[in-house]
């Protein structure tokens, strides 16, 4: 992204005197400064100070803090509830992302057909959950998945199993309910991503394939798939990171319950940093958990970058 900007920048022939040039540079810095300050204060500074916080025994409320070196990390690694949350984060991501990507690609490929009528209307319909406030969606979903909710009503009317289950209060089903809701909410977003990828494929390629006698499936496999591979990897990365960071939906639907069945790292951190249910908050400890998990995400991102390079080499994509 940033490379492209450097490459295509309009390198203006610098005219005028040195004083004029300096004044222009000053203006440029003035124009950049406000955004830079917001960036450094709210994105840069947190990263730096988080390392320090993570080595404090500190409630976060008072200024009483003792430097405890790596004690928070040793406590963290020894806490089975942390590992439970850590595992849940990955279970959530691994079960939500693949169906989300596949379903949204099928939907996008269907809606990308120029002969399909009302495609725009459908697109709007599927996009509405994306823009809806997650905490309000969480409230609606408690009702939908409830013991007397519409889902169970429909299941019993259709004589399907599962009619009497209280989905969100049952440790065996709560995670699935949250995952299905997450897929429902984010399908439209991914549909738009895929559509952007699909629409960048020249129509002539499809016409050529058709005149060569290739069917729908073979066209998809031999033309569409290789050409959207570069964008597919970006979509995969966005979704992996997004699913690992899920907070709003779980906080409002189950609050990590029942009995930590849906507790993920973000709700774990929240509980230690801000919730009164643990007694006095321990922000130092929570920071350590945050850093530990952020590190995991960065490692995954790097791994995905390497995989991306390997995949692009085999599929012959031309994007860098």
């Amino acid at each position: 992204m940033e490379k492209a900007m450097v490459g295509t920048i309009n390198q203006r022939a610098v005219s005028g005197t040195k004083a004029k040039r300096n004044r222009k540079a000053l203006w440029c810095w003035l124009f950049v400064a406000p955004n830079l300050i917001f960036y450094l204060l709210f994105q840069g500074w947190p990263i730096v100070i988080n390392w320090y916080y993570s080595m404090l025994d500190w409630s976060g409320i008072s200024s009483n803090a003792t430097f405890v070196k790596l004690d928070n990390y040793t406590r963290l690694i020894a806490d089975p509830y942390f590992w439970k949350a850590y595992r849940n984060s990955f279970i959530f991501m691994l079960q939500a992302v693949p169906p989300l990507l596949v379903l949204s690609l099928v939907l996008a490929a269907t809606l990308n057909n120029p002969l399909l009528r009302f495609a725009k209307l459908y697109r709007t319909l599927f996009f509405i959950p994306v823009i809806a406030t997650t905490s309000i969606v969480g409230m609606i979903m408690i009702f939908i998945w409830g013991a007397d909710g519409p889902l169970n009503y429909a299941l019993s009317k259709l004589n399907l199993p599962g009619g009497g289950i209280n989905w969100l209060s049952d440790g065996r089903t709560a995670m699935y309910a949250v995952i299905v809701t997450y897929i429902w909410k984010n399908l439209g977003m991914n549909m738009i991503y895929w559509l952007a990828g699909l629409q960048s494929i020249p129509r002539e390629l499809y016409e050529a394939a058709r005149s060569d006698g290739a069917g729908h499936f073979r066209t998809f496999y031999h033309i569409t798939l290789p050409l959207i591979m570069p964008i597919a990897l970006v979509i995969l990365l966005l979704n992996t990171a997004g699913a690992l960071k899920v907070f709003d939906l779980i906080k409002t639907m189950t609050d990590g319950g029942p009995f930590f069945a849906t507790d993920v790292v973000s709700t774990y951190i929240y509980r230690y940093a801000f919730s009164s249910e643990m007694g006095v908050p321990s922000m130092g400890y929570a920071s350590a958990a945050g850093i530990f998990f952020a590190f995991t995400i960065v490692i995954l991102a790097v791994l995905q970058g390497l995989i991306r390079k390997a995949v692009l080499r085999t599929w012959g994509g031309d994007n860098s």
Binding site: M1, E2, A4, M5, T8, I9, N10, Q11, R12, W27, C28, W29, F31, V32, N35, L36, F38, Y39, F42, Q43, G44, W45, P46, N50, Y53, G60, L116, Y122, R123, T124, L125, F127, I128, P129, I131, A132, T133, T134, S135, I136, V137, M139, I140, F143, I144, W184, G188, I192, Y193, L195, A196, I231, T252, Y270, F274, A286, S287, G290, F293, I297
Partner: protein, 274 residues
């Protein structure tokens, strides 16, 4: 596509589409029902009569008037701040070669690796040490924080394409750097302003974690997203009242999206291509 094939595709899409918006229809109809009708087990989406008692209850007793006002003020201010700082930043970066520019691009580029979500504790402490913990300004600053790299890129690539003659003419007319930007260049970027406005609107309106932790000690400053969550915890669940509150909170954002979706979808599609 054969006719039968097309019809079956539409049937499947309509069925799935109905599932996709059913939760919202369900909420909308519940917000007009009285408690008896709601619990009678009738899942009809059309209420027996449209009574507005739930809305008045949510609006006054449920404090949604306060939450709505808070959300509106926070969202509007954040949009103005973000527009101002990203348009200027995008203009300088996209239009001019100046000392330090490469360095700036690198620093902004790094933000892709920075998970903003795990910054909540430092941001909370930062707002606290600025003495803004129990103020609306604190929420506004926290919500406007970050590098906004997507928006800066949108503005930068747009400004790069503006013909140089426009600026030169304006300079000949005696306008300085700032006036040239405000009067000549900025008005051209209406499509980008539209995209940034609606995206930031949706993000701020829906934001949950930051306003949640920043209003823990002052419920009067809660936004709609937080108010809804808190309300559920406080009382015996008043489903129809909550549904009305949810309708109040979601109506502006869904309506705005329906009218301006082109800007939003273009912006999001642009983010993935970048």
């Amino acid at each position: 596509m054969s006719r039968i094939g097309a019809i079956s595709v539409h049937i499947v899409l309509i069925l799935i589409g109905f599932v996709w918006i059913y939760p919202f229809l369900c909420m909308l109809s519940a917000s007009f029902k009285d408690t008896e009708e709601f619990f009678a087990g009738s899942l009809s989406l059309i209420p027996a009569h449209f009574n507005l008692a739930n809305f008045t209850r949510a609006w006054y007793a449920g404090n949604f008037n306060q939450y709505f006002l808070n959300t509106f003020i926070v969202t509007a201010t954040v949009i103005i701040i973000v527009l101002a700082i990203t348009a200027t930043c995008g203009y300088a970066l996209g239009r001019y070669a100046f000392p330090g520019r490469r360095w700036l691009l690198l620093v902004f580029g790094l933000s892709i690796f920075v998970p903003l979500e795990f910054s909540v504790i430092p941001i909370f402490q930062l707002i606290k040490s600025l003495g803004l913990l129990d103020s609306r300004l604190g929420i506004i600053l926290a919500e406007a924080g970050g590098g906004h790299v997507l928006f800066v890129l949108l503005f930068a690539s747009f400004f790069r394409q503006v013909p140089k003659e426009l600026e030169e003419a304006s300079i000949i007319d005696g306008c300085g750097f700032f006036r040239t930007f405000i009067r000549v260049i900025l008005p051209l970027s209406k499509p980008i302003i539209g995209s940034v406005t609606i995206m930031q609107f949706i993000w701020t309106w829906n934001s949950f974690l930051l306003p949640l932790v920043l209003t823990l000690s002052n419920p009067a400053l809660r936004t709609l997203a937080v108010g809804m969550y808190a309300l559920r915890g406080e009382n015996i669940i008043d489903w129809t009242g909550l549904a009305a509150g949810g309708t109040i909170a979601l109506a502006p954002i869904i309506l705005l999206f329906l009218f301006l979706q082109r800007y939003f979808v273009d912006g999001m599609a642009g983010s993935i291509k970048g």
